[in-house]
């Protein structure tokens, strides 16, 4: 087990290193000159000024040298300063990342908490009305795009019922209650789609598992139908579900772009979008690097979770 975790940890570090190269290169290969951005249209026409700023920013050095300088700075916790505001990128990221993680985590929890029971009902009551309803809810969930389900949620819960704020952000320190009230709709919006996926996966995986001999064996031992389901069928059925959750959790990061815009939530994605429009290279690099890091950490956690549920993952004898 420790060996497996160590192994996965090392390969995560390697992936992270490769990702940083990709982030570094992709930004530098994109069209659009940051120097012009720094100087503004007027001064950008002056070749002398451009060359000066270029040398200041180190952009005239060969790419490998630039990368080494950048990477060692990153390792020291320095991601440079925003070209627009002049503020350190790390400080901005440190404010934004937790906000995005809140939405992702809340969405995941919503998806799993509603999706697994929904899928279980759909599998258990196959061919009955309750199973059919569970299936329909799941399909409706993952058929609706985030912006559609988001708008519907706003309509129902803030405009009609007036229960929750329609958008906005309040810091946790200022007013915890409002903070969480603002968090609910974005999380549900992003989680509803994912819930559908989790429910469908749980359903098909569980149907497959329920026909396995060991589930019949569990009942032949004297367990009730429900005990056989929860003790024997579900743990095994969840193995592929966890894998899907891991893959799709990354997609949730993409979903936050829409949700953060829709609910006016100042997270990582909205920072990335505005940095892209402004060609704010250091901020873009910081955002992308953070997204890669979040992705890699999630998949590491998922692998470890999977190895806990399914002992065969550990030894690779699947």
């Amino acid at each position: 087990m420790h060996r497996f975790v160590a192994h996965r940890f090392v390969s995560s570090l390697i992936t992270m290193a490769l990702a940083s190269i990709v982030v570094f290169l992709s930004i530098h290969l994109l069209p659009g000159d940051p120097v012009v951005m720094v100087l503004g249209e007027q001064a950008g026409a002056d070749p002398m000024a451009v060359a000066r700023v270029r040398a200041e920013l180190g952009l005239d050095l060969p790419l490998p040298t630039q990368f080494v300088r950048w990477a060692s700075a990153v390792l020291h916790g320095d991601l440079g300063h925003s070209l627009r505001s002049g503020e350190p990128v790390v400080a901005e990221l440190a404010r934004r990342i937790p906000r995005s993680l809140e939405i992702i985590f809340g969405g995941l929890v919503a998806a799993v908490v509603f999706g697994i029971p929904l899928g279980t009902i759909a599998a258990r009551d196959r061919g009955r009305v309750s199973g059919l309803i569970a299936s329909i809810v799941a399909i409706a969930g993952f058929s609706a795009p985030v912006f559609v389900s988001g708008i519907i949620l706003v309509l129902i819960f803030s405009l009609w019922l007036g229960l929750l704020p329609s958008s906005g952000y309040v810091a946790l320190d200022d007013d915890p209650l409002t903070h969480f009230a603002c968090l609910v709709l974005p999380c549900v919006a992003i989680g509803i789609n994912f819930m559908g996926v989790v429910a469908r996966m749980t359903r098909s995986s569980l149907i497959d598992t329920l026909s396995k001999d060991y589930v019949r064996m569990a009942r032949a031992k004297g367990l009730t139908r429900g005990q056989a389901m929860t003790r024997h069928a579900l743990p095994n059925a969840l193995v592929p579900v966890i894998a899907i959750v891991g893959i799709r959790a990354g997609n949730l990061l993409g979903g936050t772009v829409i949700v953060e815009a829709l609910f006016d939530w100042p997270g990582l994605s909205s920072l990335l979008v505005s940095a892209c429009f402004a060609r704010d290279y250091p901020v873009m690099q910081g955002c992308l690097l953070s997204i890669f890091a979040i992705f890699i950490v999630i998949s590491l956690l998922i692998d470890i979770a999977q190895s806990i549920v399914d002992p065969r993952v550990r030894t690779g004898t699947k």
């Binding site: 060991y214 064996m217 009942r219 032949a220 004297g222």
Partner: protein, 592 residues
């Protein structure tokens, strides 16, 4: 032999129907039999006869849309009318069950010790510590060494035989009065089967339980049964004491079943064919007319396998090695190597059948794949028709692919489900540019006729056929290119005895007709004795003994060959090796 008087289980008029959208099918029709205390009753039949469903229905584990009617009296209670809560108390405590597949019947995500503990804690008031101590004692009792360590193992860390021992431990944990064992040894190798049967009946004697043993293997029946119930298409065709069923069967189906059961002690008769079961459907929807058919021996062609020196072998395997590297060290050196084939020499003469016999993991399939050039040997050479196979390329390799065909074990997995069988069969012809499209169609129709299928089946998909039919399709596909050499890798193992006989007869006929050479990979010694000219016994990647079939069977030289032969269940009734012996497991049963 008179039966003990008191019935423990009495099944009366059991009828099971499955209601589906397509209509109602009757799986079990008016079944009645009894199991008395301490007795072993065998439920015998081919696949689809309803024997497993019967076993499950006694524990009331048939889920909707299954509809169970009749009476299942156990110790005076009708289990079919008990409440679900009362049934959970019966299951596992009064009646326990052992399933066929040790690979799938244990929960892969639960330690084996916990799986035994579970059954103890359902039915008794025990502390977790006490339950675990008893589970470890049980594991020790069923012959698992280092039981305390093994209790913490997951099923995938144990061999098939050990898993089945764990299953027996679970089934016996609550000291049931009746054990239902559904083909508990079918998936096991023959030597392991002998050990597991030994253990099972040892435990049964110790607990004094009765047993309902479901099997298709009459050899096993002869060794263990007191009373036999023969099923066919959901009905009982005959039941009675084991001696009567095997020596003087009354029903034609039983007779045919007994006749078609392989007999490992019968000497090989060249040209003889296996007896088959002929089924003529009756018009009134009643049971079909069944009779046993004993085909006449075929006079062998003049070309008996030639002794060395006169001709050259068709296939010559020389010091063949195949290693699989499972894991490398950080430095890139292999640290975990499976040596599947270790220095095998074998010659196969044209027109002969050589059988490669061994237990699972002996390397026989790997050797077969290397010979078919579907796998690359690590060292050594294979010569086909004088040419080194690994050096073939271009036109020569294409020619080799035509000349050498493989029939695989699993007829369900070896045909592409999305292609019509006509396409599957004629693909090879198209690849090699043989015949025009219309010629190919006629040829395929003719091939289907040759393997005993109707030519109009050509446009159907594989799922529309039974296992036996699919294996014939696979044979037709292998023969389409008029190969000279056919590798049959457990090609009949998945088939019922009667279908197996038909397929083997077909292969033998085709060998006569086309002068085919066979490499017949099998674990089934009884079949091999009748079917092959020479036998090579494989164990742990090596051929331990090779020779003429009768030589091997009459005078086995190697200790392992003798052990294999001894372990085959014999149909000779009265041997009853296990019944009521109550002996302690010998040291021989411990090592796996």
């Amino acid at each position: 032999m008179s039966r003990p008087c008191e019935p423990l289980l009495s099944v009366e008029g059991l009828t099971i129907k499955f209601h589906t959208g397509a209509g109602t099918t009757t799986a079990i029709d008016d079944l009645s039999f009894e199991v008395r205390r301490g007795e072993v009753v065998c439920l015998v039949g081919e696949s689809g006869s309803g024997k497993s469903v019967t076993g499950l229905s006694i524990l009331r584990l048939i889920d909707p849309p299954g509809d169970v009617a009749g009476r299942v009296l156990f110790a005076g209670r009708d289990l079919l009318t008990e409440s679900e809560a009362d049934m959970t108390a019966v299951r596992g405590r009064d009646i326990s069950m052992i399933f066929q597949e040790p690979m799938t019947a244990l929960n892969p995500a639960m330690r084996v010790g916990d799986q035994i503990v579970e059954v103890l804690r359902i039915h008794e008031q025990v502390t977790p510590e006490n339950a675990m101590a008893r589970a470890i004692a049980l594991l020790d009792r069923v012959g698992i060494q280092d039981a305390a360590v093994r209790a913490r193992a997951y099923p995938h860390e144990l061999s098939g035989g050990m898993r089945q021992r764990v299953m027996i431990a679970i089934a016996c944990a609550a000291k049931p009065k009746l054990i239902i064992a559904d083909e508990p040894t079918t998936a096991l190798d023959v030597t392991v089967q002998a050990q597991v049967l030994d253990l099972l009946f040892d435990m049964q004697a110790e607990l004094g339980s009765a047993m309902l043993f479901i099997t298709h293997d009459l050899g096993v029946v002869a060794e263990i049964a007191d009373h036999v119930v023969v099923m066919y298409r959901g009905r009982i065709v005959e039941q009675g004491p084991v001696e009567q069923i095997l020596r003087a069967p009354r029903h034609a189906y039983t007779e045919a079943l007994v006749a078609s059961a392989p007999d490992v002690d019968a000497p090989r008769v060249p040209g003889r064919r296996f007896p088959t079961i002929d089924v003529t459907e009756s018009a009134d929807g009643d049971l079909p007319v069944i009779r046993s058919v004993r085909p006449e021996p075929v006079t062998r062609r003049a070309a008996e396998p030639a002794p060395a020196g006169e001709t050259v072998p068709l296939v010559e395997i020389d010091k063949l090695h195949r290693e699989f590297i499972l894991r490398y060290s950080w430095a890139g050196r292999p640290t975990d190597v499976v040596r599947a084939v270790r220095g095998v020499d074998l010659a196969i003469w044209p027109g002969s059948t050589v059988a490669l016999v061994g237990e699972s993991g002996s390397g026989k399939s790997t050797l077969g794949r290397c010979v078919a050039h579907l796998d690359t040997p690590t060292a050594g050479s294979i010569r086909f028709d004088g040419r080194n196979v690994s050096a073939l390329d271009g036109a020569q390799l294409k020619r080799f692919r035509r000349d050498v065909q493989t029939i695989f074990q699993d007829p369900y997995a070896s045909l592409n489900p999305r292609r019509r069988i006509g396409q599957s069969i004629s693909d090879g012809l198209a690849i090699h540019g043989l015949m025009s499209a219309t010629e190919r169609r006629d040829f395929v129709a003719d091939l289907l006729r040759r393997v005993g299928l109707r030519p109009e089946f050509v446009d159907r998909y594989p799922h529309e056929f039974s296992g036996g039919q699919r294996q014939r399709i696979a044979i037709a596909r292998a023969l389409a290119l008029s190969p000279r050499f056919v590798i049959a890798d457990e090609a009949v193992s998945a088939l019922d005895m009667s279908v197996r006989a038909q397929v083997l007869n077909l292969l033998a006929d085709l060998q006569e007709e086309f002068g085919l050479t066979f490499l017949f990979i099998s674990h089934d010694l009884s079949t091999v004795r009748q079917f092959s000219d020479r036998i090579a016994i494989m164990r742990r990647g090596e051929i331990v003994e090779e020779g003429e079939t009768e030589e091997i069977f009459e005078d086995p030289k190697h200790e392992y060959t003798r052990a294999l032969l001894k372990a085959v269940p014999r149909i000779k009734p009265g041997r009853n090796a296990y019944r009521g012996k109550g002996r302690k497991p010998s040291s021989a049963t411990m090592n796996e």
